[in-house]
Amino acid sequence: MHKFLIRSFVSSLVLLFTLTVAAVAKDVKAAFVYIGPTGDHGWTYQHDVGRKAVEAAGFKTTYVEGVPESADAERVLRQLANSGHDVIFTTSFGYMNPTNKVAKEFPNVKFEHATGYKREHPNVSTYAARFYEGRTILGTIAGTMTKSNVIGYVASFPIPEVIRGINSFTLAAQKVNPNIKTKIVWAFTWYDPGKEAEAAKALIDQGADVIAQHTDSTAIVQMAEKAGVYAFGQASDMDKFAPKAVLTSVENNWGPYYVDRVKAVANGTWSQKDTWHGIGDGMVVISDLDSQMPADLRSKVKKLQADLASGKVHSFTGPIYDQKGNLMVAEGKTADDGMLAGMMTYVKGVEGDIPK
């Protein structure tokens, strides 16, 4: 009798335990690690919008903001992996090595690293967006709207991601206006409103009447608004910060991808992937087109957007020449992803040299 009681007690305990484990397994928790503050209205802000989409889909989320890419990143990642998170999104390039290091120690936790290339363990995926497709749209608009034929471009760091953007932008602008020149100022920062504003001012002083940016703050569009020139929002719709200057913005839309991946973890279907999505998959979104743009330009842009989405148009279609006139992509060909990933030369029409 006693034995029976004990046995049934033990088995009910086991049952209870299994039920709890099953309930926990369904209850997937996602964590996000951010490089900046969630209120930067740029890179981190948009990742946080993506996180909120995951919450809206019924999952629990946690985030840590302002995590430096120094030795601290590893500790934050380990703490998140250790405190019951099933999938961790690390949203800056500099988290690449810590992500892979911690992933090795927590094989049951999934790691998703944005903009990196290392997937050293089966539980690490990487993802990035084809922002250069958005820049093809911006280049088309800039080439049409400029009167001085000088377009300014505030760049962050001389890495392929940024060079690719400059090239994609310039190629599109040249297509509608062969006389344009793209002038670059390297700010050597991703987010520094003071430096970015100075860079924009320097470009405006050199005659640029359209300013593009590959840095994250709203300082550049605000400077453009003050100077009465056009600009484009970066990462989020920046129209409200400079209603006259901003013609449109290229938005980073991470939500659908995040929801997808967290759901995959919940269903047990998650597997290692290297994702590079563009306009077609909705990871890159073009904001509303400003009414200052002529109607025919607006309809042209809409069509270009649809063609980029369907793959009918590719941002890098030959013939493409570098600054010295050497052929980079032959006529009728398009650049493959390998070439895009390592792109470190300017195309013809970009002024200056890449800082080395």
Binding site: V67, S70, A71
Partner: protein, 354 residues
């Protein structure tokens, strides 16, 4: 009635008690801020100051974080004690890391016991070279060391940017701004399996012992003390001021450079753009919180280190914005400076008579 009376002499007991008072006031004010933000104050403080170090791993992370702070603050105390305002430890850290990282890269994929000592020495020399600039400019050209050392911080970061983006970037790294990973022989050994705490902590402890000896047992320490009280007296006593200024800057730079070595050859293992979350600036708070005393600095570095860890834990478990960590650091310094008032004045309660 409350009356404020000037003290005849600054109180020595109060001198060492005010840091404790400042920490206490910071906790009270911090709790109040949490309360206003809508968090349970005691729970928040628990996640901030206790949970992060409740296990072995957490405690090892505390020591890892405190190591560079302690090392730099010890170096800075040499400068601050003798009236030399070296604000550029962050730059000396960065430049030390650059020189040491460059040497480590020279030994890429090589093994040998001699590599690590060379890498460490290179970092110390790099920090000293960089600190010698404000020192020499101050002694021979009468420039202001605060401005020069501070400006050089930004210069050092630009040099680092240039190197990791350009000539030193990893050839297999798709042009991302980072160098190759150092070989194991160029990295500081870990003290325990599975923890990140590394041999760099011994450098910090050695600095503590040496500085105590220098401050209280040597002629140099005495000179520094006199110069700290009054430069005129020091001159009158016939001390060779220039030599001492350069020496304290070199010591300070070496310590900061070693802190940089500890980061890149310890937990990071390569050079990239962000090797220090402003340790060089935070160490200024540590130095003053520790009253420029070697033992005080050990405690102060632990207290300040925990504000970093606590901010992360509080955000993960309670969704408290991580930047409150910086608010805490600011409050500690503020309350410390404010309570220094008690050094020179005392508050007397006088019974009201009708």
């Amino acid at each position: 009635m409350i009356k404020i009376v000037k003290r005849d002499q600054p109180s020595r007991a109060i001198f060492f008690l005010t840091p404790v008072l400042a920490i206490f006031l910071t906790l009270v004010a911090g709790g109040l801020i949490f309360f206003i933000l809508g968090f349970k104050p005691f729970e928040a403080l628990k996640f901030f100051f206790i949970v992060p170090i409740a296990d072995k791993y957490g405690f090892s992370e505390l020591l890892l974080k405190a190591t560079p702070l302690c090392l730099i603050a010890i170096g800075l105390s040499f400068c601050f004690k003798s009236n030399n305002w070296n604000i550029g430890a962050e730059g000396q850290l960065t430049f030390g890391a650059i020189v040491s990282g460059g040497v480590a890269l020279l030994f890429y994929e090589q093994e040998g016991f001699y590599i690590l000592p060379i890498v460490i020495l290179a970092g110390a020399i790099g920090g000293m070279l960089y600190a010698s600039i404000p020192a020499i400019l101050k002694t021979y050209f009468n420039t202001n060391e605060i401005l020069v050392s501070l400006m050089l911080v930004y210069v050092s970061k630009l040099i680092l940017d240039y190197l990791v983006v350009g000539p030193w970037s990893n050839p297999e790294g798709f042009n991302f701004p980072e160098t190759r990973q150092f070989s194991d022989s160029a990295k500081l050994p870990l003290l325990f399996e599975g923890l990140r705490i590394h041999a760099g902590i011994f450098l910090a402890l050695a600095a503590v012992v040496i500085s105590w000896f220098v401050f209280y047992k040597t002629y140099l320490g005495f000179q520094m003390k006199v110069s700290g009280f009054s430069l005129k007296t020091a001159k009158y006593a016939g001390y060779k001021g220039k030599k001492m200024i350069i020496l304290v800057f070199l010591i300070s730079g070496a310590c900061a450079g070693l802190a940089g070595v500890g980061e890149i050859t310890g937990p990071i293992g390569q050079l990239h753009r962000e090797i220090s979350p402003d340790y060089g600036f935070t160490a200024i708070i540590v130095a003053f919180l520790g009253r420029l005393h070697p033992v005080g600095i050990i405690f102060a570095s632990l207290v300040v280190a925990i504000t970093y860890l606590g901010a992360e834990t509080a955000q993960i478990f309670m969704q408290i914005p991580k930047y409150t960590g910086q608010v805490f650091q600011g409050m500690i310094l503020f309350f410390l400076l404010a309570s220094d008032y008690l050094l020179f004045f005392k508050i007397k309660f006088i019974g009201s008579k009708k």
